[in-house]
Each structure stands twice: as C-alpha cells, then as structure tokens.
Amino acid sequence: MRTHSVEIAGVHRELPVVQVGLEVSVALFNMLGDTQVVEAAAVALAQAMPADIETLVTPEVKAVPLAHALSRVSGKPYVVARKTEKPYMISPVSRTVISITTGKPQLLVLDGTDITLIKGKKVAIVDDVVSTGSTLKGLSELIEEVGGVVGAVMAVFTEGSPRQDVLALGHLPLFKPE
C-alpha cells in the first residue's frame, strides 16, 4: 500500500494514500480513534492558540475529539457545528457549503443554545484538515452571522495549496494516482 509519512507534534504516522477522484489521491488522515495523535496535537495547538480566543468551534465529525481535548487543555469551551438539524435544537442557525470530499452540498448547523458561547466572542475554528477551505468559509460565515469574530483557524494539517490563514501543525500534499 502507498503511504505518506507525517510527524504530528512529535508522533509519527504512515498515512494511506487513497484515490478520491479521477486525477487526485490524498493522504488519508483520520484522527478518529487515534488518541495519541489527538492528545499530542491538542497540546501543540493549545500552545499556538492566540491568548484572546474565548470559544472553539468545530465541524462534526472527525475533529470533535481534537476540539474536546483542546478544550480540556486550554480551558476554553467548544461548540460543535452539526451536519444535520436535530429535532431538539432551539432556534438553530444553518448554512450550506459544498463539501470537497463528497462534492455534495453540506449543511452546517449551530444550535441556538450554543450561540451565547459565540456571540460577541473571539472564536477559533478547529478542524483536522483544511483543504479547499469550503467548510472553513461556510463555518466562518455562520459564526459571523451569529455575532462571533473568527480570531484564528487551527488545524492539524493544511492540504493542497499551503495557506497562511491557518495555524497548522503540518501540510499534506495532493498526489497523482498511480
């Protein structure tokens, strides 16, 4: 199997390179279930986080353990933007983005009860991988719509083109399928 070596806050991993389109393969980074990587990344990102951040916001699903661990390490609360509206949500606010991994429209939803943690606050967006930034853009707009200010974007990896607007621990290139 083709793999790509990475170092995440001192932890070594071999990521499988998998084809996701006709012309492109990606190094598959899945933090779900990798407690060691999540904990190491959370400590490193907590150190890099601007001091004035008040709340963390993460899109479900893969970055949820990272946001949880970063919240525990930094003491800042976190909010999960869901992919579906739940029947129990009170006055939810949502926005549709086009997902790069699936090519389909993807809803991002904030529960109204979480908005007090965002409104008038400086927010850091936390994600596992920032690639095209479509999720990031949608989530930023959603945060601003409810009165929050995006003070930082934090990720374990950027992917594709390097980005200056993301505090990341590493970068993943795109690959040509073999």
């Binding site: 904990e39 699903v61 949820v64 353990p65 949880h68 609360p77 909010v79 999960v80 029947p87 129990y88």
Partner: protein, 178 residues
C-alpha cells in the same frame, strides 16, 4: 425551560427536557461540548472496562468524546463506526439499525481497513445513551461481522428499558406529560 437534574461523579447537570413525541418528554443529555461531564463519565466507566478488552468500539457522533477519553484513561485504542458511507471506504461492513423508537431506518458503516483491526479482538461497546437497544444491537452485529467478541457494553446513561445487558452510570427517565 423545564430541566431535569442528573449527576455523574461530582458533576451535576440540569438537562433541558424536550418533547420528542407528543406527550413524551425526555431530558436531553449532550456529551459533546461538555468536557467535565465526559471526564466524570469516563472516569466512572473505565472501572467497568474489562482488563481483557483489546479495543473500544463506538459510533458517531456524541459518544466519540466519551470513547476518546476512555481510550486516553485506559490506554486502549478505539474505533468509530460511521453513520454514513464515506468516499474513502473500501468494502465496508454495512449494518441496518432496527430502531423501533424513531421508526426511521439507519445504517452503520465500517471501512474494511478498520474492520481488520477488530478481527479476533475483544471489544467493549461504548455509548452515551442506550434507549431501546436497537443501535446497540446493530453495533454488536458490526463487531461480530468483523470477527470480534463483545466483552462489555458500557453506557454513560440508559433510558427506559433497563433489562438490556449494559453497564450504565445513571438512568435518564422518560417523563410523561404533566
């Protein structure tokens, strides 16, 4: 808003009570976003995690943070079964959930690369809330299809049917209309 108190370890939360079906009111617990509650639940549940456990098995979304914390406390890895097919999945295990409570069909997905890690392993299933047991049964079937043996079923909370073979910390009642 009506609330219902629950206590896990030293943490007490006043859960919002929501009407899920006409006349049926349920205290709504959400582990995501609540680092203290997750920590308390994981510290209590880890005592019930059999020493022989090789892998913790959970499913998205809310129980992920509990599984992550149990993994961090116990040193045992965890695997997350998905509720949607992901583009990178190869030859996944597919399992329908028979849910009587919602009457909505649902499907669980586990990529073959994750399933391989369960072969011949002893697994503990981890949930946030177990209600009818439909989801639990489906997750158990996923484990068996992957060639694993279920040695424990752990839940932070259970709701309603207490005859299920689970270890749970606290009961969340189903409240009838006042």
């Amino acid at each position: 808003m009506e609330t219902y108190p629950i206590t896990v370890g030293k943490i007490t939360r006043h859960l919002p009570v929501v009407e899920t079906l006409p006349g049926v009111h349920i205290p709504l617990v959400e582990l995501m976003g609540d680092v203290e509650l997750v920590q308390a639940a994981a510290e209590a549940l880890v005592k019930h995690l059999p020493l022989e456990t090789d892998v913790i098995l959970t499913l998205e979304t809310s129980p992920i943070v509990l599984a992550h914390t149990l993994s961090a406390l116990s040193g045992k890895p965890y695997i997350v079964v998905r509720r949607k097919r992901r583009p990178y999945m190869q030859d996944p295990i597919i399992q329908e959930v028979e849910s009587l409570t919602l009457g909505v069909s649902e499907t669980l997905w586990l990529d073959s690369r994750m399933a391989e890690k369960l072969l011949g392993q002893k697994v503990a299933l981890v949930f946030d809330v177990v209600s009818s047991g439909g989801t639990m049964n489906a997750l158990e079937k996923v484990a068996k299809k992957a060639g694993a043996t279920v040695v424990a079923r752990l839940a932070a909370f259970h709701q309603g049917n207490s005859k299920l073979p689970i270890t749970s910390l606290t009961e969340i009642p189903i409240l009838q209309s006042a």
